[in-house]
């Protein structure tokens, strides 16, 4: 109720103050003027203006975006990892023998300290048990239901509302200029595909992610279906990102956006192409409006998803643009009023 009233007031204020009309004229209106916004606009102009020496043919306009921490919140735990933990009780109900087997026993105990100590190996067992063994249609239905009904504990909103307004504007701005926008995520390809189209305007065929194999078979009535298997085809992190881009897209991106060491090779690969290339890293330095952090919590024994000092140094050296959430973004979330 409170949120709705705020939104109505914001809309009224926006009309009275004329900021709505103003915002419409700038496709990147949630970005403050600064080096990051300037670099984006210059890149788009130089690659899409006929006659420019760095003009890029429309079919070659590919832009790739990491998801967690780049397009939406990844803190304190990747949304998909939360999903997998939440699915454990249902998995154990279906296979009661797992109740006394680790790591399922610990997850069911609800003991946060013990859960935080689970190893990467334990986590992989939980992912395999909760993400495979069902048909792709069953998986899609389960994930969709969970996303519709689960709320982030801090903002009390569905995870799919915790997208960054400036990045949504950037996706639309690039598409309006002929760029094909892709998600290239370390997260599960099937998971992200369940919501990428309504949330980001990115269709399933433009989502590249960590992917397992499927197995074709028939049900009792002879109808064919695909079962998700625990056989990893693509680990779409680190070097897996350019490898995944080659497998799924087959062209080198002209622009790439990330926020962690897992995106380093994707940015390197993008910048190694000829002509104008844009590489950007989102820096989480806004403890008040979102989070300020280095390592991502919730993933044991791993450095996945960290903006390390070494990455910062490489960005400076390679000419990658570092986007400060605190300084470069007028607002963080799409649900926030425009004038905030």
């Amino acid at each position: 109720m409170h949120h709705r009233r705020t939104a109505v007031l914001a809309a009224v204020a926006s009309v009275l103050l004329g900021t709505h009309a103003l915002a419409q004229t700038d496709p990147l209106h949630s970005w403050n003027d600064g080096a990051a916004k300037k670099a984006i606009v210059e890149f788009v102009q130089t690659t899409t203006t006929q006659g420019s020496s760095q003009f890029v043919a429309p079919e070659e306009r590919i832009a790739t975006f990491d998801q967690d921490g780049t397009l939406w919140v990844e803190h304190p735990m990747y949304t998909q990892v939360t999903y997998c933990f939440d699915r454990v009780p249902a998995v154990v109900r279906a296979k009661p023998e797992l109740a006394n087997v680790e790591p399922f026993k610990t997850v069911l105990s609800g003991n946060r300290e013990a859960i935080a100590k689970l190893s990467m190996d334990d986590l992989l067992k939980i992912l395999a048990a909760t993400l495979t063994g069902m048909s792709v249609d069953e998986f899609r239905a389960e994930a969709t239901k969970w996303l519709d009904t689960t709320r982030d504990p801090r903002w009390k909103r569905p995870y799919t509302e915790l997208t960054y307004a400036p990045m949504i504007e950037l996706l639309k701005y690039l598409r309006a200029n002929g760029y094909k926008t892709y998600i290239v995520t370390g997260g599960g390809q099937d998971f992200v595909r369940t919501y990428a189209e309504p949330v980001y305007g990115i269709p399933p065929e433009q989502v590249v992610g960590t992917a397992g194999g499927t197995k074709y078979g028939y049900d009792k009535s002879g109808k064919p279906f695909l079962t998700k298997e625990p056989r990893l085809l693509l680990n779409d992190n680190d070097a897996g990102k350019p490898e995944g881009i080659h497998l799924m897209i087959g062209r080198r991106p002209h622009a790439a956006f990330g926020n962690s060491t897992g995106d380093r090779q994707m940015l390197e690969y993008t910048k190694a192409g000829d002509g104008a290339r844009l590489a950007m890293l989102v820096l989480h330095d806004d403890a008040k409006r979102e989070y300020a952090y280095g390592p991502v919590l919730g993933l044991p024994d791993t450095k996945v998803g960290t903006f390390t000092p070494a990455l910062y140094d490489e960005a400076k050296k390679q000419g990658w643009i570092v986007v400060s959430m605190k300084d470069d973004w007028k607002r963080i979330f799409s649900f926030e009023p425009e004038w905030e």
Copy 2:
């Protein structure tokens, strides 16, 4: 010279007789009137007319095409297999120790009888040696050069000109009606991607094929590149086709086109979806203008690429349309005059 003169005469005749203008009004002008053409037009109308009970939203309009034998000639040997055999001398020059190792020794001997007796295992060794171990850029350059300079022995034309005019019209007709067209081929994904855009109007990101892994690394100057590895990720034949469609597209097609048992599961999977679905098989029954055959030659110990009696029976049972090249197609190749 002869061909050029024929083309000019055809153009003149076309203008004089008014057939050119007539042809323009029918997007499927190389198709004879009959059950196949009727089924295509009805499918497109019923799925794209607003208010139709079987209307398909534009983003869901996916059509998948097998390549060899469906979009271009596969006889007497898959073009890519010819490429691999042609590459063997260069591979042996780079690694002279292979000259006395089978199956390379037999290939180098030029003894056609012995070559025809090579096993599937031998063939896989030849594919691995000629398609992997180089960078993706080197591979693309080699394949492009070969396609530009090699001629089909029967038609004395580049292989890329041996595409079926009626199928090219079908691709364009579907795209003009909002369908996204994909190639889903048992052939190598990287190989087909080198020419699919100019030849079929299908961009690399819409080519799904048999795919190996790549490995990300750096050259001496520190520039990143991808090396093709002999590690199979997707065998895009048979059940591998729906599995590949799920991996690379993530949606079930509304229309699928093939010509062999390797396409059976793709057609089944397509037809198992709700609403109007179109499944078609091209039957090679035109010995005069192209070929009439069952099994494809040149692939030892395998039944890949055959239009078997069992497949014909299944097509009839499942409501798949069988396209007779002899009866349904006015002309076969795009290089033939329109009025032939």
